[in-house]
Symmetry: C2
Subunit: 353 residues, 2 copies
């Protein structure tokens, strides 16, 4: 590193589990490596860091915070050299502020899928290169796994995407790896959902995972990065929640009634097993117009079949990779998500140094 | 892209299969995207491109070339804005020129392993960050697969490497995937070597693959990127060539005598199969001092066991990824190697734009 190292100034919006893991990683990275924290904000309070001793200020936080004011926070960040806004929320409203941030020359790094899977006009604004202002979102798909960067590299170097397919939801991964193991003696579907819920792999209401929308957002993002005009509104999304249970008022009611459908899911599973296959909930990006999310059967020998735990896996079939390029590993969790964000921050640092 | 886009000027050294695939990819990328070819050189002739119409000059090549002169080529490249030397050779002598290139502010991109797996002093020179002059070598391991970039990102964001293990040689991959398939009825080892040779997967003398040195160089590179003081001279490398056949004068003599050792390899394979395992030739980076290359047995359910064809696979076990992060896919071939180089060229373009 040279004497003229330009520091990146990070502003953290919504420091929950992921944001706190990121703060820890940045503190361990140390003061001399080109990244410092310039501010932290949540819905109630904020910390605007002035002066060089950012590490002491972060250590004192939240004791040294003041009342939250997003406008003042943004102005504070815009006054920094090489500012990067890190949106650690999953909020549509925060994503709605990205164009304003960009107009103030604030770079953006985020695991928040909303800005990239919603309005196409917003996506186009975010994906346009803009000298010295950058938008990176590796952690929107697969947390810290090199998925978005790999796809971008394939596309930029002129490879042609034939099909992208993967298991992008840690919840769906865990659920079907448990329910439909190769050569396994299956538990009932409702019991597997219960295990996933009790192990902390699901949202408080498991239907928020089973409806496929999280996977659909990731398919939309991957499709757009691949250059497709793909939209959440028109993407075929398979909702695994039985139709009769979508109107249950509470997750308890849903969990109580789910066993009524064990026979249905058990039959699907048994039919797949008879063919030497397992069930997996996958997202597919297919430039021929067949992008979707769906519960599909894969042979026991397929890489998707041997997936373990809540791991993600993605398979890129391209002109240059007729045998797929595959990336797999933990696709959720605070530490790996924070590492994905951190890596994007370093990419911005590289572009300024 | 903005009006002030800075073009990267690429000089291609040693345009063989990979270099020609790269030229094709760069030509398809087009003149307006920020990369152009400024020169091409091999041991006999060279082309120094002057003026804006580089595409016509490249199309005319080699008819418009002059006598090769590395000193003039280097001076020509040094006179370009944002020059990148792309070493497509596997030459020690060319790698020896890297320090001179760097001193002239020439960035370097290469699949040539020699400079990164040889003398530690040279490696340190190459790995030192230097404002506006960069060295990228993604394609030294796994061609276009995101291996070096993934490892660098893990290390930079503060993750701790526990173990890196992989099948890094397309030849060794094909050979042992054929010889030692899960539940397969094996052909003899010598026959499998013959199939690999006849299919074009080996060097003209298969001993140049079987000696493990290609894998050892990759382990050395990965270990160094991971921050280890690892050296080819002291790395334990398993040579699969039976000791008695190392002194054979010709590859024909080697191939003729290899069947004498079929019983030895068949026994190893049968013993592994009896344990539900297969044989794989792997490279291991282990910060506890146990880095090596070796023929090892893996359970039939291990991701290494289900590898197909000549694919590469790499498994990163780290503090944040106790269940490994895995990358797999084609790790050799002109098009994917060229794409790995191209991606590095674009990374340098990004750092200047």
């Amino acid at each position: 590193m040279t004497a003229s190292l330009k520091f990146v100034n990070v502003g953290i919006i919504g420091p929950g589990l992921v944001g706190r893991a990121l703060i820890k990683q940045l503190m361990e990275f140390g003061a001399s490596n080109g990244v410092r924290i310039a501010g932290i904000i949540n819905s109630k309070s904020m910390l605007l860091i002035k002066g060089d001793d950012w590490e002491s200020a972060v250590k004192d936080w939240p004791n040294n915070s003041e009342t939250s004011n997003m406008q003042n926070f943004t102005a504070h960040m815009a006054s920094q050299a090489v500012p990067v806004m890190v949106d650690c929320t999953s909020s549509d409203a925060v994503a709605g502020q990205y164009p304003e941030w960009l107009s103030q020359k604030l770079s953006i790094v985020t695991p928040n899928k909303k800005g990239f899977s919603g309005d196409m006009k917003l996506y186009k604004t975010l994906s346009q290169a803009n000298q010295n202002t950058y938008v990176y979102h590796e952690a929107t798909v697969g947390a810290g796994l090199p998925i978005i960067s790999t796809l971008k590299s394939l596309v930029r170097t002129g490879d042609k995407i034939v099909k992208i397919e993967g298991i992008f939801s840690g919840t769906m991964s865990f659920l079907f790896n448990t329910f439909s193991a190769p050569n396994g003696a299956p538990e009932s579907f409702s019991k597997c959902v219960g295990i996933a819920k009790d192990s902390g792999y699901t949202e408080p209401d498991p239907r928020d995972d089973l409806n496929g929308m999280d996977v659909a957002r990731k398919v939309t993002i991957l499709g757009r990065v691949a250059g497709l005009d793909i939209s959440l509104d028109t993407l075929p999304v398979e909702n695994v929640v039985p139709e009769a249970l979508r109107s249950c008022q509470t997750s308890e009611e849903f969990m109580t009634k789910l066993p009524e459908f064990d026979e249905h899911f058990g039959k699907l599973n048994a039919e797949a097993a008879a063919r030497g296959e397992v069930l997996r909930y996958v997202g597919t990006v297919d430039p021929s117009g067949k992008s979707c999310t769906a519960l599909k059967a894969f042979p026991n020998t397929h890489p998707f079949a041997s997936l373990k735990g809540s791991d993600n896996i993605i398979s890129f079939i391209t002109e240059r990779y007729p045998v797929p390029l595959i990336v797999q590993g933990a696709g959720a969790g605070a530490d790996v998500t924070a590492a994905g964000i951190f890596s994007d921050i370093l990419a911005i640092s590289d572009r300024h140094n």
